[in-house]
């Protein structure tokens, strides 16, 4: 999501599940949608059946998606950027890119700063400090800014420092032969699929990319997704029906979680968390509001102040007054750590701090960190240092039971050694409570409780509310260091111990606290009315909205997330009255790009929006509805340039665009630049559990994945799911199995520098040995769904015993895919 937001302006799937049916080419790469999104995959099948679409699958394994794909290419885990770089180069050198689209809608014409450079021999961008082994100054990763404060441009794309020309030169290294050398596929296979994928560069064709955790689980994941975004921009596939870069979210509500501030560095609505140093509301808002980089660009984040103040009113209610800057003074700020950087409280850092003894207690809701975080042994050791642990779950799981001797023995501890007090709270599951799921397509879909939770199980909101009320009571009785934020929290719900989610939903959408007036003084939203438009929010405390992005979901018309109309005026499967899609019920993001410079759709059979002379019609336009196409507001209204970023100024920690780096554990040194083989911006952790292996000791590339038969670590409690996939297994290429004397069904052991895991061998032709930079390399892989608790054969087969705590420097996602192991028969 970090990548999509920096490139396009919003961190979400650009199109939507139902729109995939409109594609001519579907590239499934970095995801295995047939396996992990079987229901959504129906739209791929519709595209195949009804449009004769071509499905291309690129993956380390011949998987379930490959089984129904028209083309399959096997690549080595962790080399996707090389493959995508090859596609970018192929499109540019064969003139298979959509020139007019690129000129109109991307930053290709903008000039790059003179100070920007890339040392292709060493593999580092300008600003690299060789001594400190870090990017210490990334100010050169920017545009050439003119005296007017705007970026200079060359609409002909000919200027040698235009993004277009710099990009062309940068990716010229990614020839089919180089792709083959790095990825292990043949140059010939690469060219064949490159031809199919780039065939969508013409206005009458559209292609989509579907990806998921196969792209996000790398130490260069954000750059990887950016490379795919660049490709789709070059092909003119963003913003168009049948196109897009479609991030498939792995859980029913993970998009909702991200939208609503689940990541430590964001507040709901992708407002950055205030930092120490942002001493006043004004300072914070100024820091969070980008300056326009082109004269007419919409730069929608210029409204940050309205969204922030409305949110503070939702958080602190009556306690948010003009005097205390609408509660900003009550609000927590991200502290600085000793080194001067802001503290990082993403997953891997939480467990690193826990392992260091820096945490007293930990709440785990709907999470099983022993199983689903990287490097399980480090997580177990970390939990053993806590004073208390609260786990709210449907079933007892490995985290709540980490103190068992079979689990603790993994870190050479016994239950007597551990003082952690563990509370296991039975939580209701999704079917046992109302609420909403926000799916990959940004649809906020209401759901209704199907059954009551069993026994003492409670819905999460009740658990949280009861803890909060008790904490507030204690603050009220005992004072405490800074009781005001807790005492002032806006807890207005009619049932404070178990807030109704309808009420929470109304609050997230927000309402007018006073009459809201327009510039002429006319009332646009009466006091007490629900908001229905973003720009009806105000920065003067007269509106309240928990998450500006969801405005329109719960208006005076009611809870639109409950809508279930299948009316489809577009005929393209947009279903505008099925639930509510953020933002503003827009079904395809950046849809201004679906029409040309004059507002005419690129393809009359697949209209996103069209200019009818007075206004934009079709989908909710991602553009001011009555601004003529020539107004030049920019098709990417969330970005200060107004155009999508091929070159990303100053957003990423590891470069302005995507270079191939090897996984941190790799069988070869980077063939492009061995000196900086893996992502130089990655910061290693230093605990004794954070060990890395070498190719000599651990010669095999390994990857982890999920199965359609199971959902994470949860369905191992379901007898039917257990029946379908009863035991942990390791997929092994035939040739490797032969070398090791392993037969199908034998017991094998996989060992990495972190730990080892045992299970049944599945000997297969679906993973083939590869030639990488002249060497034979094997890949193996295994699914994640087993552990210590649950039904069936749970033999402690925790996949993450072997994965490393190595994380991407932007998204902090761990490298679960593409690490090194050795394999033996038990």
């Amino acid at each position: 999501m970090a990548s999509l937001a920096a490139t396009f302006g919003r961190g979400a799937m650009t199109n939507g599940w139902t729109d995939i049916r409109n594609a001519d080419v579907v590239l499934a790469m970095g995801g295995n949608p047939a396996e992990n999104h079987p229901v959504g995959f129906r739209f791929v099948m519709e595209a195949k059946r009804n449009r004769n679409a071509t499905l291309v699958c690129v993956d380390p394994r011949f998987n379930r998606t490959a089984a129904v794909a028209d083309r399959f290419v096997q690549i080595r885990a962790g080399t996707d950027i090389a493959f995508l770089g090859g596609l970018i180069n192929y499109a540019l050198t064969h003139n298979r890119f959509h020139q007019e689209y690129v000129r109109l809608f991307t930053n290709a014409p903008l000039l790059v700063s003179e100070r920007y450079a890339f040392d292709s021999a060493r593999g580092v961008f300008s600003g690299w400090d060789a001594e400190r082994r870090a990017y210490t100054d990334i100010s050169s990763w920017t545009y050439d800014i003119g005296p007017d404060g705007y970026a200079r441009t060359d609409p002909t794309l000919q200027h040698p420092r235009s993004v277009f020309q710099v990009m062309r030169q940068f990716y010229a290294r990614y020839t089919p032969e180089e792709v083959s050398r790095i990825c292990g596929c043949s140059a010939d296979d690469f060219v064949k699929v490159a031809d199919v994928i780039t065939s969508t560069y013409t206005p009458d064709r559209a292609g989509t990319i579907m990806y998921a955790l196969g792209w996000t689980h790398h130490s260069h994941s954000v750059q990887l997704i950016h490379a795919a975004a660049m490709l789709q921009l070059l092909l003119g596939n963003i913003g168009r029906p049948g196109g897009g870069l479609n991030a498939l979210r792995g859980h029913a509500n993970i998009q909702g979680g991200t939208d609503c501030g689940m990541a430590y560095h964001n507040l709901p609505g992708y407002i950055p968390v205030p930092k120490v140093g942002d001493e006043t509301l004004n300072a914070f808002v100024t820091a969070a509001t980008p300056r326009a980089l082109r004269p007419n660009s919409t730069n929608f984040w210029s409204n940050t102040d309205r969204f922030v103040v409305s949110q503070l009113k939702a958080f602190y209610g009556a306690a948010a007054t003009r005097q205390n800057e609408f509660g900003y003074r009550l609000h927590p700020r991200l502290p600085q750590s000793d080194g001067g950087a802001y503290e990082n409280w993403s997953w891997a850092y939480i467990f690193d701090a826990m392992h260091d003894g820096g945490l007293e207690g930990f709440f785990s809701f709907g999470m099983n960190p022993v199983s689903n975080g990287p490097n399980s042994r480090k997580a177990i050791a970390g939990l053993s240092k806590l004073k208390w642990l609260v786990v709210a779950e449907n079933f007892e799981q490995e985290t709540a039971a980490f103190w068992r001797d079979d689990i603790l023995s993994l870190v050479d501890l016994t239950p007597e050694d551990v003082q952690t007090e563990v509370f296991m709270l039975p939580a209701a599951n999704f079917a046992e409570k109302d609420g909403s799921f926000v799916n990959s397509a940004r649809w906020i879909q209401w759901k209704w409780k199907a059954v009551d939770p069993p026994g003492d199980a409670k819905p999460d909101q009740e658990i949280v509310a009861r803890i909060f009320l008790k904490v507030r009571e204690l603050y009220e009785q005992e004072g405490g260091t800074f009781p005001d934020p807790i005492r002032g929290l806006n807890w207005w719900y009619s049932n404070p111990t178990s807030p109704s989610l309808e009420e929470v939903s109304r609050e997230i959408n927000g309402w007018a606290l006073e009459d809201v007036r327009d510039a002429s003084g006319a009332v646009v939203v009466g006091r007490g009315r629900q908001l229905s438009r973003f720009l009806d929010t105000r920065a003067d405390g007269s509106t309240l909205s928990g998450n500006w992005l969801y405005i329109g979901m719960f208006t005076d018309q009611g809870n639109l997330a409950q809508r279930r109309s299948t009316a489809d005026p577009s005929g393209l499967g947009r279903y505008p009255e099925w639930t509510f899609s953020w933002p503003a019920n827009r079904r395809i993001l950046y849809n201004r790009c679906s029409a040309d410079g004059d507002g005419r759709p690129w393809d009359a059979t697949r209209v996103g929006i069209a200019w009818n002379g007075e206004r934009w019609v079709g989908d909710t336009p991602d553009y001011t509805v009555d601004s003529a196409p020539g107004a030049d507001l920019g098709a990417f209204i969330m970005l200060p340039e107004g155009v999508a970023r091929l070159f990303v100024p100053g957003q990423f920690a590891d470069g302005p665009w995507s270079e191939h780096y090897e996984p941190v554990e790799s069988p070869v040194a980077n063939p492009l630049h061995p000196e900086h083989s893996s992502n130089p911006a990655v910061r290693p952790f230093g605990s004794p559990f954070d060990t890395l292996g070498t190719a000599e000791e651990y010669p095999i590339v390994c990857t982890t994945y999920r199965l359609t038969e199971h959902f994470h670590y949860w369905t191992k409690n379901n007898p039917y799911a257990v029946q379908l996939q009863p035991e942990f297994f390791v997929e092994i290429p035939e040739e490797l199995a032969r070398e090791k004397g392993i037969a199908n069904g034998d017991q094998v052991r996989v060992t990495s520098a972190r730990g080892s895991i045992e299970g049944k061998a599945m000997v297969t032709r679906r993973i083939k040995p590869m030639q990488i930079d002249g060497r034979q390399v094997y890949q193996i892989g295994f699914p994640i769904h087993w552990g210590f608790l649950g039904r069936g054969a749970q033999r402690g087969s925790l996949a993450n015993l072997v994965t490393p705590t190595v994380v991407d420097p932007n998204s902090f996602a761990p490298e679960y895919k593409g690490f090194l192991v050795r394999l033996e028969k038990v």
Partner: protein, 295 residues
């Protein structure tokens, strides 16, 4: 559509009152099946079948074969198509043959019936557990449960179909590779898909609807139809010779002595069966609501 009978095992005369109703058919398009197994569990849940004990034997396939409690199995086969790997997934289940070898082989009156809509159904109340249907089936589908001493298989969700619903597996299938309707409609969709496959390079694609058993109530689109064995399907299934041979004489039980041990066993089981259940012919209307199917 009514659930009137077309054919009854070990019964000389056809059932009375047969009206002309369209045959129902399930389409299985193996080229769009993703092996998700939603159909496997939907089948078990609808039919109240318990989960089977399974172990990992080095395959994605749930079980090596259908069982008495598992009537819908996706088979997974890796196939090297001159250098291009294929992973072929096929839904294995009762094919609901027009000429059902099981029914023809069955010596127990009324244990196997064929409804006018083509569904072949076992009536376990009348089953004598002799297992002849197992031999009679060219697809190796019916499975004997040693505990109940009865034979079981897919019913094509006759209970759902008879009240206008589609079979549970079809309802669950996310990719629509399973569809349900009249035979005519299903063949039309299947043939269209075959044309599409041929145009995209699968020259040998065809619909599997074997004439040796009179056609089947489950038609299958195969990309490599010239090699049905790749999918675990027989090339030219027919009712086995032995079954066709003795089904005639069976009517004349007195002559069976000539057939030796096999026939002796048959007589034994026929008698045994009758002792257990004196009803001659089942009336499925007692058990299954009779109504019209919306197709």
């Amino acid at each position: 559509m009514s659930l009137e009978l077309l054919r009854i095992s070990a019964s000389g005369s056809p059932a009375p009152g047969v009206r002309s109703v369209p045959a129902v058919t399930k389409l299985v398009d193996t080229t769009t099946c993703i092996g998700c197994k939603a159909c496997e569990v939907a089948c078990q849940e609808w039919n109240d079948l318990p989960p089977e004990p399974t172990t990992q034997t080095g395959t994605y396939q749930t079980l090596p074969d259908l069982t008495a409690n598992f009537w819908n199995l996706i088979t997974f086969n890796e196939h090297d198509d001159s250098g291009t790997l294929r992973w072929l997934m096929r839904k294995d289940q009762c094919m609901h043959c027009s000429e059902p070898g099981c029914l023809i082989a069955c010596p127990a009156p009324g244990a196997i019936v064929q409804y006018a809509n083509g569904i072949v159904d076992f009536q376990q109340d009348h089953c004598i557990g002799c297992g002849y249907c197992v031999t009679g089936c060219p697809f190796d589908v019916p499975k004997f449960n040693p505990r109940t001493r009865r034979v079981y298989k897919c019913t094509l969700c006759v209970d759902r179909v008879s009240v206008g619903l589609q079979p549970a597996c079809v309802k669950a299938c996310p990719t629509s590779c399973l569809q349900f309707g009249t035979k005519e409609a299903m063949l039309e969709i299947a043939n269209r898909r075959v044309e599409q496959l041929k145009a995209s390079g699968f020259a040998r694609a065809a619909v599997y609807d074997p004439p040796g058993v009179g056609g089947t109530g489950v038609v299958t689109v195969l990309a490599f139809a010239d090699q049905p064995e790749l999918y675990g399907l027989p090339r030219d299934p027919t009712v086995p010779m032995a079954v066709s041979f003795w089904k005639g004489p069976l009517k004349w039980i007195g002559n069976l002595a000539m057939l030796g041990g096999l026939a002796v066993a048959a007589i034994h089981y026929v008698r045994f069966g009758r002792k257990e259940d004196p009803d001659q012919i089942p009336n499925p209307k007692d058990q299954i609501p009779n109504s019209t199917t919306r197709l």
